[in-house]
Assembly symmetry: C2
Homo-oligomer: 312 residues x 2
């Protein structure tokens, strides 16, 4: 298996990305190769500094890259040889089996939809984030920002995508799917969640447990929590803030420690035709390592094929 | 001034409400009278247990009340003599100058809109909640649940209502108004926030500082943070969860202490024709006291008249 990494993506690239690749390479099973996409001179220099064997890696050179502030659609169209579009080209042509980047999230979304494209039947891809549970274990919330405006059938599909991810990558059997709402009863909510509830209740492919509220995010009520990308993004940023505050204030706690994004590596773009993972802009080498291992997991478990089969 | 209190409203009523009224009565300036609406036998018994002078209070008797689980519209229509509709009748007829309850929030909303009615020009009333700021001081977020589905002009009006509340009751001069969004740039967001941004930018009556994100809730970016009631309610319940977790885990911190709802008393229903405050269902006597003092403040500062003037 060949795992593509955007060596130029992220606030601390290429140092953090290359160091992360070195860490990941030590943990990957034999037969897995990391393909470093970016400025080969810079990458080789960092590998040397790290005393890493450059023969353990493959390289695809480009001197161009898409910045964090670049407009996603424009950048993908105008910077065709930048590391992100190049990665997607390699992925589309089958030279790599997965592609990940801690760079411009919008460019990763647009790039995946333009190149490898959305799986037939999936209306819109979604991005989940991991939620630690108070009793231990992990849950998911999605979408957290790929879809600011959603229709009820988007939310239904997010439930299916989230269930498949949690089951295949995180080993949660028959995950319980809940809908973020502002009340427990079926008739509660806004027009979107009222309609989504009706659809989700009838869905045979997952175990729908009904509405969950903001206060249920970390409890044991649901494993996969579904919401529109606007609500999900606000939740994600608020939760990150609370985590940051507990760290800044010196609170030591195993539960809050599990909010640390580093250990989860990144968010897959679910519903596109190949494994794609987007990391946090501030990704450290540890986070990059976990992003690479997550994308390897997605290939190994054939997650994309499983999604394709259910939407076929 | 006569301040009406639903003595039967809240999870710990009438004990907590009557005890709260006794506490408030000691702090109210001379000439202010608390009117206890509810089961007079029960209320008098609790006053006696508290060694409170019952002549310091007025009483309006009813043996009926609306429960926390009652359907708001049905309950208001079918239980006309319950403490909440009775309170609104007294408020409408001018027998009391303000009305507050820690009971059924939906019934308080429906009751206020059916009796004293919305101020002409206000499309929908809104409910704010207080947000402690990291650097000290307070901000507001609204709406937190009165309006699950919003139009752009609802959000614009929430900004005006929130600004007037923060300025008049909390003494924040020329509050900065921000819009909850999923990106800082004007073009970011969902259809609702994109359209609301365009309206809010042109509004002359407040100081609009643009988009704020989930991470900016507690920072010094904006004083009044506007969002639809679905997003606001999810944020509120998530923030309450974090506060509860810090308490349960024994973290002592002045900032997190300021999340304690007790000290703020409750949420006004902004945009109706008289001062109305809704308290948290779990209100303690301390919270009830602060709810009464808040409703008194709303009368003293003539907040309703000021809102009426701006929407005229």
């Amino acid at each position: 298996m060949r795992i593509g990494l955007d060596a130029m993506g992220g606030d601390f690239a290429p140092e953090a990305t290359v160091k992360g690749a070195v860490l990941a390479q030590k943990e990957l099973p034999v037969g897995n190769q990391i393909v470093l996409i970016g400025n080969t001179d810079q990458i080789r220099r960092i590998l040397k500094e790290e005393n890493a064997d450059e023969h353990a890696f493959e390289f695809v050179h480009t001197s161009e890259f898409i910045g964090m502030a670049d407009h996603p659609t424009k950048a993908i169209a105008q910077k065709a040889t930048a590391s992100i579009p190049l990665g997607f080209q390699l992925l589309k042509e089958g030279h790599i089996d997965a592609f990940s980047s801690a760079g411009n999230t919008g460019a990763m979304l647009v790039g995946s939809m333009f190149s490898i494209k959305t799986i037939p039947g999936v209306i819109r891809p979604a991005m989940p984030t991991i939620v630690p549970k108070l009793k231990g274990g992990l849950g998911l919330i999605l979408d957290v920002g790929a879809n600011a405006d959603c229709r009820p059938d988007n939310l239904l599909q997010f439930g299916i995508l989230g269930k498949l991810l949690l089951e295949n990558i995180y080993g949660v059997k028959n995950p319980r799917v809940g809908l973020i709402n502002i009340g427990e009863e079926p008739e509660k909510g806004n027009l979107l969640t009222q309609a989504a509830y009706a659809l989700m209740r009838e869905e045979p492919s997952f175990n729908f447990i009904g509405n969950v509220e903001g206060r249920d995010l970390f409890t044991d009520m649901a494993d996969v929590i579904v919401c529109d990308g606007f609500t999900g993004n606000v939740i994600l940023k608020l939760a990150e803030t609370f985590y940051t505050l507990t760290v800044r204030k010196g609170f030591n706690d195993v539960f809050f420690d599990r909010f640390n994004y580093e250990q989860y590596g990144g968010s897959p773009i679910l519903g596109v035709n190949a494994p794609v993972v987007v990391g946090h802009g501030i990704s450290s080498p540890e986070a990059i390592k976990n992003m690479i291992l997550l994308s390897q997991d997605m290939v190994t478990t054939k997650l994309t094929e499983k999604i394709r089969r259910i939407f076929n």
